[in-house]
């Protein structure tokens, strides 16, 4: 009886560990494969590789489209996060703290871009931009501003989601305690509420940045000549060639996102927010 009681959980635990291991494998295997193939020496990917090389990284560097794409992507992602996160944060505050008619409708509306397929959103925006261009008589599609505006649509739902979650978990007694100690409403917000929201906001900024940085589908129709983002540049390259250069570019992308997450995690423990 006792033996069974002690044996059983360990069997269950072993099974659970195996499942977790499998899950990690499924998640990381493609990433590992991409990183590995970026070093394979043949143009056609064969396993096992005949040799290892840095050649594809040099090749990627020599292609001006990739470098320009990387710079554009970084710019757009940064701008989208810088503009989108404050808007999303303000919206989250209104949704959680405000009491007004239509609050739930607004909340749903702000999360909606997550539910719309990117290509559809991109096509919709493209048509909207064309119409707006006719009315305003100025360029919108194929401009950086137009692209940033589209990517802000990615930043807002992520920010609203994460900041709403952090606001709902926030102990309001701390704000009352601050008022009790003599802090007026603005001071309470600046000294207590905002710092307590910080993990949510930092996470929101990071997710917004990553969402924009790796976005292909919305950008596809909105980029203009000379202002191509990195994922679009990669797609363009793929039209003419298949070789590990793309794996090398993807590895750089993965590295940037990875570094970003590690650095963010130093400031706020992501596991506590997400």
């Amino acid at each position: 009886m006792f033996a069974r009681l002690t044996e059983r959980p360990s069997l269950g635990r072993g099974l659970m560990r195996a499942m977790i291991g499998l899950a990690y494998l499924i998640i990381f295997a493609p990433v590992a494969m991409i990183v590995a193939t970026s070093f394979f020496s043949q143009q056609i990917i064969i396993f096992p590789p005949a040799g290892l090389t840095w050649h594809w990284y040099v090749n990627a560097w020599d292609n001006p489209e990739f470098l320009r794409g990387l710079i554009t992507s970084l710019q757009v992602a940064l701008l989208a996060a810088v503009v989108g996160v404050p808007i999303g944060t303000a919206a989250a505050l209104a949704i959680v703290r405000g009491e007004f008619w239509g609050r739930n409708a607004i909340s749903t509306l702000l999360l909606a871009p997550l539910a719309v397929p990117g290509v559809v959103a991109g096509a919709g925006l493209y048509m909207f931009y064309v119409l707006a261009e006719n009315v305003l008589d100025r360029d919108i599609k194929a401009t950086t501003q137009g692209l940033v505006a589209a990517h802000i649509l990615l930043a807002i739902p992520w920010t609203v989601r994460l900041v709403v979650a952090s606001l709902q978990g926030l102990d309001r007694a701390a704000e009352e305690a601050a008022a009790n100690l003599g802090a007026g409403p603005f001071t309470v917000f600046r000294r207590i509420t905002l710092p307590m929201m910080r993990p949510g906001i930092v996470a929101a900024a990071m997710f917004s940045f990553i969402q924009s940085f790796e976005n292909l589908d919305i950008s596809l129709l909105l980029v203009g000549p000379g202002r191509i983002t990195l994922p679009v540049a990669m797609l363009n390259y793929l039209e003419f060639r298949i070789d590990p250069t793309l794996a090398a570019v993807a590895t750089v992308q993965i590295l940037i996102v990875g570094v970003l997450m590690v650095v963010t995690d130093r400031f706020v423990k992501l596991s506590r927010v997400v």
């Binding site: 305690a177 100690l181 003599g182 710092p195």
Partner: protein
């Protein structure tokens, strides 16, 4: 330190009355406890005194000055929250210093006051820690220091001990009471724990359904409850309903006749017989006028609890645990025992006090 007056304070949430025409006063240096079951309106009352909640009607006065319309941050009360509500991103010292900063004290002065306050709660060595690096008891002491360092006009405690374990609770209870008396703090304490209220408070306010049931010293409430609710809530009590037969007899609903001595203060509408379990003497055998069968004997260490079935009623008796050679020591379930009490001890009270707002 100020005195506190609450006049006809009322709070409505939608159609329900959370607090109903509450009158209350706390003298300078006095500790008054609001005691009642959850939902009785005690926390709502405290929050209105602190200024977190606007009353629907009525007034709150500090030192006879009307503060009803004053926002929380201008009332200068020091509150200890049930969750402690420490600022998670600030060290213990910064938490304590926050109120001083809001009062515009300069850095040097602030540091001295923070040091003093932390010394008061014996936490000087942990000044640099963040709240999450402190134990529950330590967090609670930071919260105390933070509330006291500003020399508040009023000290407010919202279930301050409910998140501590039993042993620590007993210690902190004595500690807070000593601090309150030494510093002469005018204090309003909210609690649902009668032991906490009885041991800490100068006066108790028993609340139920948004109304005051009785106000008095712990001894008054324990020995002279005005109604069955207070009798039962302030301590364990044998509460039997029935009616007064004559001046020396109470007849329970099941027909049991119990000896009482109704004084002139006890009204005729008394329908409840209330007797504390420790005021009943118990002896083996059927010699007494009131005797019955033991239903259960529960050993509690220093005391022993007996459940005795007499007629259709169940009496709870608590006595000091008898020594092994006493006859009572051998009493076990199904034995016959006799109960006896001083006929002046039982209280005959109405089921619910018609005069709920008397003191």
């Amino acid at each position: 330190m100020a005195s506190l007056e609450v006049e006809r304070l009322t709070k409505r949430f939608g159609t329900s009355l959370a607090v109903n025409e509450l009158d209350l006063s706390v003298r300078q240096g006095e500790l008054v406890a609001l005691l009642g079951p959850s939902g009785c309106g005690k926390t709502t009352t405290l929050r209105m005194v602190a200024g977190f909640l606007p009353p629907s009607s009525g007034r709150v006065l500090f030192d006879r000055e009307d503060v009803t319309r004053l926002p929380a941050h201008k009332r200068s009360t020091g509150m200890v929250f049930q969750s402690y509500a420490l600022f998670p991103h600030m060290t213990a010292a910064d938490n304590v210093g926050f109120g001083l900063e809001m009062r515009g004290l300069n850095g040097a002065e602030r540091r001295t006051r923070i040091e003093e306050a932390l010394k008061l709660v014996r936490l000087s060595h942990l000044a640099g820690r963040l709240p999450r690096e402190l134990s529950g008891g330590q967090q609670q002491r930071v919260a105390l220091a933070r509330a006291l360092v500003i020399n508040p006009r009023l000290f407010l405690l919202d279930e301050p001990l409910s998140n501590l374990d039993a042993k620590l609770r007993a210690e902190v209870r004595i500690e807070i009471r000593a601090l309150q008396q030494r510093l002469g703090l005018t204090t309003l304490l909210v609690t649902h724990d009668r032991e906490e209220a009885l041991t800490m408070a100068d006066r108790l306010v028993v609340m139920e359904g948004g109304r005051v049931r009785q106000i008095g010293s712990p001894r008054e409430l324990y020995d002279e409850p005005h109604d069955a609710f207070v009798a039962d809530f302030v301590g364990r009590c044998n509460v039997l309903s029935g009616r007064r037969e004559d001046e020396t007899t109470f007849r329970t609903d099941s027909g049991l006749l119990l000896p009482v001595d109704t004084g002139p203060d006890e009204s005729n509408n008394a329908t409840v017989f209330a007797l504390r379990p420790e005021r009943i003497a118990i002896s083996p055998g059927s010699d007494g006028a009131i005797h019955g069968q033991v239903a259960a004997v529960t050993y509690l260490g220093a005391q022993t609890e007996y459940h005795v079935r007499i007629g259709g009623e169940l009496f709870v008796v608590i006595r000091q645990t008898p020594a092994a050679d006493e006859p009572l020591a051998s009493v076990k379930p199904e034995d016959i025992v006799s109960l006896e009490w001083d006929r002046r001890t039982p209280r005959l009270v109405p089921h619910t006090s018609s005069n709920g707002r008397s003191s």
